[in-house]
């Protein structure tokens, strides 16, 4: 039943007919198209939907619109007046208060309400006021800064337009902390994410997921669903292609919709399109599915047992990949070692939980071309995989990547939403939008593999590594997804940080009846890195060597080939160790803190882009060719850019398909391109969203964008400059080789007073020669990697390094950990945008600390998810986040663009070990099983007390002869 209601929103009256059961959030977004208010969870947990009602922040997802008519509602769209940002919005822009921007509208509104009632809040008051707004990207550090410094941006303050903060005299290219180029859109709610987009005549789709974790599909009846008024199309496995898909070409094992078997709760079984989402949801309930239950495997160690039921027939013992790396002779080396210790560790099934749920919109043109809007990190892989399952050439598919609200790996593969929206759209002849609910995101998964790890370490008397051996079982869930690469990464990256003469790794990627795991920030490496770092710190304790010192003694050096043939170029790892030790006052603290206080060290590093891509030479094709002979070179360029100068010379449009997902790639690419063009970044515009406009870039994974796309854009810029030089030379009366360009001027080398405006030269070029365009591309160097099986994984043109010191306190009675301080130094090469680098580090520390202490998807015996929501799956709030100091050490990577490497994923790696070490330091017990929850801490302390008491008692016993 519809009732006409009138709302006062941002001072304006709206009359709308709504149903009584609609939330204010849905009315704002779907009926009034005020899409700045975000839906992150729809259950009060995240704060993305925050609006002000009579000045007070509330969750619009928990309000029935029918009960708030007549009250004054402020949404994010109501803050900036006549295009002028509020001081707080300006502060968010300038101080790095946002990354993906999905939490930003809610965050800004909560902070606005706070400042309204308390213009000068204390740090604690700010944290209290923002405790209901989750952010997954920033680690809250930039947000705190933005609110604390808001006063600096009061009327008339700087920064009216974002990336023009730097005054023209100031350099805004490489090395400058210019604000993100999308910041103003994101603080005002103007940035459009996939779910914010509506196409004319658009329908809405939903997927029915399996209600059981393992079983055969016996019968499926959709007749009632089809008969429901408003339903436009219903598809089941019988209606869709038999072509399987996935990520690794050798392991395509996913059905678009289940054909005969379901393998985890939520496994897609049917898909519905209807006139609205609510009708589609109702239709799902009318689909009858009969299953024959099969035994459920939720434990990888059970799944590999002889005789366990097979989840896929083709994976014997449920193992889809085994890795065997064997370098040197570990057994002999352990025999020769002065000290050997072996420990087992267990990781957790961490889920990325980006604030923005996955979403897709598919629309077919009459000429048979598909346009897909999707919240993805890897547009070209989605394009490729869509071509594969739809059996159409890749060229008929246009992928548009609107603003993306964080990914961290869960958006690194083609989703059922991508495929089903296209199939449903074809079936009903209308554009179809599909958006995951928070629960569906968890059911789709692609989070971190839970790894069962055994690590053995052999050292000489001085603590130098003689041998390392690991055996890892990766619990992969029901499909392979990225799992092959994950299993290799878990082994290949261990030798990059410390020198080790002998190394062995056995890895097994195991199928279980849980949502598939995939590539999460640090892909495969954080848990083994955690295990190794813990073991190294334990060894340091045993040998009486300072834990930082033992790391120094083993630290990787520049220009070194690791024993697994990874080619380390620049490496300032030791410098990061020295810097964190100094900055954290390690010497004064380690071993000297009172009980309950702890300090710990962890280190890590990562690739700056994978040396090889998943699809080898086949990116141009829409279906799989047979296995190709492997050649040690990139067949095609991994990053490609075009830059086109506007006809008046006042702007340059950069086109590159690099996926901006919140990490800030648009901004650093603009900076690098501007630098090579010689113009201010504010004269650049970015086109990275549309595959029709922007040439191929493989996407946001393996920390590759700054490095690889950076090369492509700077080469494109350089090409333009080369074309301009003869014109400038003619104007300046010098040789073309003498011309230089910087910040919008072209001048004679060595005499900047002889200069001409860059734009004037560009105009001249156009007038004489037509479009002024440059192109650039990047291929990783040839010959990367060794000659053994799996040698490609872990190869990269460059490697990052970092060290983190964590300080915390533990409530020894309850086990509660309060992470107080992090000190981090990274060797990320030369930072292109320091603020962006620190933002990545701050976000990674908070995410990693949460991962170590509170995160993990839990499963019931029947395979159901216990906590598929943001009140069961806890991520850190602003009140949990530590104080963070992030620093970079001087470094220059000759292979990188402007000396840069990576920061996005490497920043996660030191965190887990640092936290675990600090907890051990505070409590006297090592907990080797993630997450390190208060309960585990209390239990471990109790066990240790009992063991100590028993030992004392034994010592007191009279000694009797044997």
């Amino acid at each position: 039943m519809f009732t006409a209601r009138n709302f006062t929103i941002n001072g304006q009256k709206y009359d709308v007919a709504i149903e009584d059961g609609e939330t204010l959030l849905d009315v704002l977004r779907d009926r009034l198209h005020l899409t700045g208010t975000k839906k992150g969870c729809d259950s009060g947990d995240c704060g993305a939907c925050t609006v002000l009602i009579d000045g007070e922040p509330l969750n619009s997802c928990l309000l029935l619109a029918s009960t708030v008519d007549g009250r004054s509602i402020t949404t994010i769209e109501g803050l900036a007046q006549n295009g002028e940002l509020t001081p707080l919005q300006k502060s968010f822009v300038a101080e790095g208060g946002l990354q993906c921007g999905y939490c930003t509208p809610g965050m800004v509104l909560s902070a606005t309400a706070l400042l309204e009632r308390n213009p000068d809040p204390s740090t604690e008051e700010i944290k209290d006021a923002l405790a209901g707004n989750l952010c997954r990207c920033t680690g809250y550090t930039g947000i705190m800064r933005s609110v604390e410094r808001c006063k600096n941006y009061l009327e008339g303050g700087q920064c009216a337009k974002p990336h023009e903060t730097a005054s023209p005299a100031e350099h805004s290219g490489v090395g400058a902390s210019i604000p993100r180029i999308d910041a103003a859109d994101k603080v005002t709610g103007r940035a459009l994410y996939t779910a914010d987009i509506s196409l004319p005549n658009m329908a809405h789709g939903k997927i029915l997921g399996s209600s059981i974790a393992h079983g055969l599909l016996k019968r499926i009846d959709v007749s009632k669903a089809k008969a429901l008024p408003g339903v436009l199309a219903v598809l089941t496995g019988a209606d869709v292609t038999d072509t399987k898909y996935g990520v690794s070409p050798a392991r395509y094992d996913e059905d678009v919709l289940a054909k005969d078997k379901v393998r985890h709760i939520g496994d897609p079984v049917a898909a519905v399109a209807a006139v609205d989402e609510k009708t589609a949801e109702r239709a799902l309930k009318l689909i009858e599915v009969e299953y024959e239950r099969l035994p459920v495997l939720t434990d990888a160690m059970e799944a590999i047992k002889e005789g366990a039921p097979l989840i896929h027939e083709k994976y014997k013992r449920n193992i889809c990949t085994s890795v065997d790396y064997n370098f040197g002779d570990v057994d002999a080396a352990f025999k020769e070692s002065h000290y050997v210790r072996e420990e087992t560790f267990t990781g957790n099934n961490v889920f990325q939980s980006p604030l923005e749920p996955h979403a897709s919109i598919a629309a077919w043109n009459h000429d048979g071309n598909l346009t897909l809007y999707t919240s993805t990190q890897v547009p070209p892989y989605v394009q490729y995989m869509m071509a594969h399952v739809l059996h159409i050439p890749l060229g008929k598919i246009r992928v548009i990547r609107p603003a993306v609200g964080g990914g961290f790996g869960t958006k690194a593969a083609t989703t059922p939403l991508d495929i089903c929206s296209a199939l449903l759209s074809r079936a009903c002849g209308r554009p179809v939008k599909m958006v995951y609910s928070r629960e569906e995101m968890f059911h789709y998964g692609r989070g971190r593999h839970k790894q069962h790890m055994k690590f053995k370490l052999g050292l000489d008397r001085e603590g130098r590594i003689k041998a390392v051996k690991s055996e890892v079982y990766l619990d992969g869930g029901a499909y392979t997804s990225f799992g092959v690469a994950t299993a290799y990464y878990a082994g290949s990256m261990i030798p990059t940080l410390y020198k080790m003469p002998n190394y062995r790794y056995d890895g097994y990627r195991v199928m279980t009846n849980k949502p598939a795991c995939g590539a999460m920030r640090g892909h495969g490496v954080p848990q083994p890195r955690f295990a190794f770092e813990c073991l190294l710190s334990m060894a340091a304790d045993d040998l009486g060597i300072d834990p930082i010192e033992i790391r120094r003694r083993n630290a990787m050096t520049p220009n070194t080939m690791t024993l697994n043939d990874l080619d380390i170029g620049s490496c300032e790892f030791s410098a990061t160790l020295d810097a964190v030790a100094e900055k954290s006052s390690w010497k004064e603290k380690f071993g000297k803190l009172p009980k309950g206080k702890g300090i710990g060290i962890g280190c890590g590093g990562f690739v700056s882009g994978a040396g090889y891509c998943i699809y080898r030479g086949q990116v141009q094709l829409s279906h799989e060719k047979g296995r190709e002979q492997f050649q040690k070179k990139a067949i095609f360029p991994h990053a490609n850019a075009v830059v086109r100068v506007s006809e008046d010379g006042e702007a340059a449009v950069l086109m590159i398909g690099a996926a901006e997902i919140g990490q800030g790639s648009d901004t650093v690419l603009v900076q690098m391109c501007a630098e090579s063009l010689g113009i201010p970044a504010s004269h650049m515009r970015m086109q990275s969203a549309d595959s029709e406009v922007s040439p191929l870039d493989l996407g946001a994974y393996s920390s590759r964008v700054t490095f690889m796309a950076g090369h492509a854009v700077s080469r494109a810029g350089a090409m333009v400059l080369e074309k301009m030089k003869p014109y400038a030379a003619a104007m300046l009366g010098c040789a073309a080789s003498e011309v230089q360009a910087r910040d919008g001027k072209m001048f004679v080398h060595g005499d900047a007073s002889r200069n001409v405006l860059w734009a004037e030269v560009a105009r001249q070029c156009f007038n004489d020669d037509g479009p002024l365009v440059g192109t650039g591309w990047y291929k990783p160097p040839e010959g990367l990697g060794g000659d053994y099986k799996g040698a490609t994984v872990g190869t990269s043109p460059a490697y990052s390094f970092g060290s983190s010191v964590c300080e915390l306190s533990v409530d020894l009675e309850t086990g509660k950990v309060k992470i107080e301080q992090f000190t981090d130094y990274h060797d990320c090469g030369t930072p292109i945008n320091p603020q962006g680098v620190h933002g990545q580090v701050e976000g990674a520390i908070v995410m990693g600390a949460g991962e170590t202490t509170m995160e993990g998807v839990e499963f019931g015996e029947d395979g159901h998810l216990v906590n598929p929501n943001l009140h069961g799956y806890l991520i850190m709030t602003i009140k949990d986040a530590p104080e963070i100091f992030s620093g970079v050490v001087d470094s220059y990577e000759p292979r990188g663009p402007f000396g840069a490497k990576e920061i996005g994923e490497g920043s996660t790696l030191p965190v887990l070990g640092a936290v675990a070490h600090a907890i051990a330091n505070a409590t006297g017990v090592w907990i080797k099983d993630l997450p390190i929850t208060p309960e585990k801490i209390v239990n471990a302390i109790r066990q240790k007390k009992a063991a100590d008491a028993a030992r004392r008692e034994r010592r007191d016993e009279p000694v009797t002869a044997k």
Partner: protein
């Protein structure tokens, strides 16, 4: 998930609300702040055809000082309660609960009535209110009655409220001299974390610092907010030294009947009850000292 078709009736008075409840029972729920009801409807914990919205009933909202003590209208939001100037002095302990539960946004919507009458075992307000001897004023179009708050809830999400009856107010008697109360809770995050366990304590001391009365109530470790009567008996007449507190903690642990779930095992919860009891006793005592 979207909420399936539902009709919202906005009651203007208590009587009207009661009549509407009677008319549509059992296919109806009261809607106060909606922070539980909306989540429950979306997740289909229950589904009803009608909601009776209380928002327009003016006299249900607000905190007032009466002769016998505080009257907290059922529609008072948690945020309003927390910032009411009347929550001062002896009533301060209420803020231990209001300031630590949920999020600012939720506290701006969630009501005291919903938190209490919702009867969710991990609700934060009932234990401290029970410790402070609060009573509940229940009203229907047929009349009204007052019950002890500890008698209101009989099971998870179950109360003694009749179909057409609603909670109009919670009354907290004015504390006597030498009174101190505190609520200690444990959650897995610094903010927005449901209590894994909570312990509320209200103490009245004699001039010689022996205990005149002690009430200890538990959160999230039993099907209902549970008053630990044995602890009251134990403590009366004693000085709150370490051993008395330890014994009270042991009794609280014995009274707890926690479930094991995602947030903690039963054993861990019991252990927390012990720790929190000692901490709440200490905090309450300290407040008397001031």
């Amino acid at each position: 998930m979207h909420i399936s078709s539902i009709e919202v009736h906005k009651a203007a008075t208590l009587d009207e609300a009661s009549a509407l409840m009677g008319r549509f029972a059992p296919d109806v729920r009261l809607l106060a702040g909606g922070t539980d009801v909306l989540v429950d409807l979306k997740t289909a914990r229950f589904s009803v055809g009608h909601l009776v919205a209380l928002g327009a009933i003016k006299n249900l909202r607000g905190v007032t000082e009466e002769r016998e003590g505080l009257r907290i209208g059922a529609l008072t939001t948690i945020a309003e309660l927390g910032r009411s100037p009347l929550i001062a002095g002896a009533y301060d302990a209420l803020r231990d609960a209001t300031s630590r539960m949920a999020t600012p946004q939720v506290r701006n919507a969630a009501t005291v009535g919903g938190n209490v009458a919702g009867a969710v075992p991990c609700a934060d307000l009932p234990p401290i209110l029970i410790a402070m001897n609060a009573t509940a004023l229940l009203v229907s179009d047929k009349g009204e009655r007052t019950v002890l708050l500890e008698d209101l809830v009989v099971g998870p999400r179950q109360t003694i409220l009749r179909d057409n009856e609603l909670l109009a107010a919670v009354n907290v008697p004015r504390p006597p001299a030498r009174f101190g109360a505190a609520y200690a809770r444990f959650g897995l995050r610094e903010a927005n974390a449901i209590a894994v366990a909570g312990v509320a304590v209200a103490l009245v001391l004699n001039d010689d610092r022996t205990v005149r009365s002690a009430r200890i109530a538990l959160c999230a470790v039993a099907p209902v907010p549970k008053l630990v009567k044995a602890a009251s008996r134990l403590l009366v007449g004693r000085v709150l030294d370490e051993s008395a507190c330890a014994q009270a903690a042991a009794l609280a642990m014995a009274a707890a009947e926690p479930i094991a779930d995602l947030r903690g095992s039963a054993e861990y919860r019991c252990e927390l009850v012990g720790t929190l009891t000692r901490r709440a006793l200490a905090a309450a005592q300290q407040r008397i000292g001031r």
